[in-house]
Amino acid sequence: MTVATPAAPKNRTIMRPGTVKTSRRKSATWVPPLLVALGIIAVWYLVSYVFLDEQRRFLLPPPHEIFTDAFFQPDVISDIMVALGRTAVVALVGLAIAIVLGVAWAVAMSQARWIERSTFPYAVILQCIPILALVPLIGFWFGFDYPARIIVCIMIALFPMVSNTLFGLQSVDKGQRELFQLQKAGRWTVLTKLEFPAALPAIFAGMRISAGLAVVGAIVGDYFFRRGEPGLGSLISNYQSRVQSAELFAAIITASLFGVVIFAFFGWLGKRVVGKWYDFSAS
């Protein structure tokens, strides 16, 4: 299950930025992944030029060709950017709806045990259904354009929002609850002044996961529907069928970068909003 466990806030000594310790730590987190990236590129070139002969090189074109043959080609890059724009709209709208819906559902469950008992199993089932199997049905019902793509997106991105928010709301410290209880605070007060703020770290952790999934959902929906205005999914499907491998790789890389950017954005947003009092490095 995609539940982030917020650890109890620890009493950490505060380090001033710019001290030796901080910069060493920062380089320590950046260097190893960079080395891995260089290693992957090296292996990539090795496979392209050594293991594949010229007729079969299209299976894995060398990295620089992805730039020369695709990213640097005005018509290709404009196709990709237009498609990215459409995919981004689907992903962001789907994500926004999933966030609102997920938080609302979780709040409802946290307020009434019977709602949790009667509906949470369906949240879990939603997570277990292979969405791909439902995609044709969604197409039947909602057509094959934006609404259908957005629905696929929501279905994929909803569960982490629901489970993380619910977990966050329910894991409020017992002592803090009693503090409110002693002042005879009403439900709404407890929700807005205690449970919701306490759940924010978990909600942001959920958003980060859902954001990544929303991108997947937007591309998968489009890839399967292949109708209406083409997004990255349709484009990938077209490049694949036309064996335009440099373009295919360019589209895949663009989609991946978009996923990374949106994931990083929500990580940043979470740190921005609750990082002052909550230590994310534990999760």
Binding site: E178, L182, K193, P197, K276, W277
Partner: protein, 257 residues
């Protein structure tokens, strides 16, 4: 302190703030936490309850505060201004010291300007002046406990309940907070009911030490403590102090079968 009382003031001003008679507590799972407890706390008293872990000491406070009703017996609490300090500081990590101290007044609907003043006074009383904008995670354990104390002080409590508040602190911090608590007790005129498992802390702080037995918790003995207030830290090294601690410890062992 010029902290106003909540609108509901106790109708009768008797000396007795808390009166437990034959109080028993049996949890739904069948565990008996307390049985036959008679306990009173009068105005001007600081009563400390010592007992082994799990003897139901905390349950006493939960009953007194109304968090959990007793299953048997008579419980009378003659005030609505009850301060409660938990084992943990239970601060809200997203609020700074000022805002944490304001919380209870905020929950009681006190206007912003007024609760700011009240909180400021309480912060000054516990010696946290200058730390108003600090978040709990940047404070030491002792300072968090002070914040928690300040938060309850804003209620201007007549009865102050303490559930092993200094148990997690180091010895030096603990002794310092003991002295400050005594100072607050003499200045603020609340009655105290303090739970601890430290015998010397109990004797040092209180006007009366109550010893409880192991589960089900019963009161096995009561010792009045006559040292004058404010207490001189040096009394800890006197023969009378040692003798009283010895008696309390003996009663604890006797009651702990």
């Amino acid at each position: 302190m010029t902290i106003a009382a909540p609108p509901v003031a106790p109708a009768t001003k008797t000396d007795q703030l808390l009166n437990f008679q034959d109080v028993a507590m049996t949890f739904p799972n069948g565990t008996t936490a307390l049985s036959g407890v008679d306990l009173t706390v009068d105005r001007g008293e600081f009563v400390t309850v010592v007992g082994p872990s799990g003897c139901g000491k905390s349950t006493l406070l939960r009953i007194a505060s109304g968090l959990t009703p007793a299953t048997e017996g008579l419980t009378e609490v003659d005030t609505t201004r009850i301060g409660y300090v938990f084992q943990d500081a239970t601060l809200l990590p997203w609020r700074d010291v000022q805002s944490n101290v304001e919380l209870l007044a905020e929950l009681n609907g006190v206007p912003k300007a007024k609760r700011r003043v009240t909180a400021k006074e309480a912060i000054d009383l516990v010696g946290l002046t200058g730390f108003e904008k600090h978040l709990p995670k940047t404070l030491s354990g002792g300072m968090r406990m002070r914040t928690s104390l300040a938060r309850s002080l804003t209620l201007d409590p007549e009865l102050f309940l303490f559930d092993e508040p200094f148990g997690a602190l180091d010895e030096i911090t603990r002794e310092r907070l003991n002295d400050e608590l005594i100072k607050l007790f003499t200045e603020q005129q609340f009655a105290g009911l303090f739970i601890t498992h430290s015998v010397s802390e109990a004797v040092y702080l209180s006007t009366k030490v109550v010893v409880m037995s192991g589960r089900p918790g019963k009161i096995v003995d009561t010792f009045p403590v006559d040292f004058p207030f404010p207490r001189d830290p040096e009394i800890r090294f006197t023969a009378e102090f040692a003798e009283l601690c010895g008696k309390v410890s003996h009663a604890l062992r006797e009651g702990h079968h």
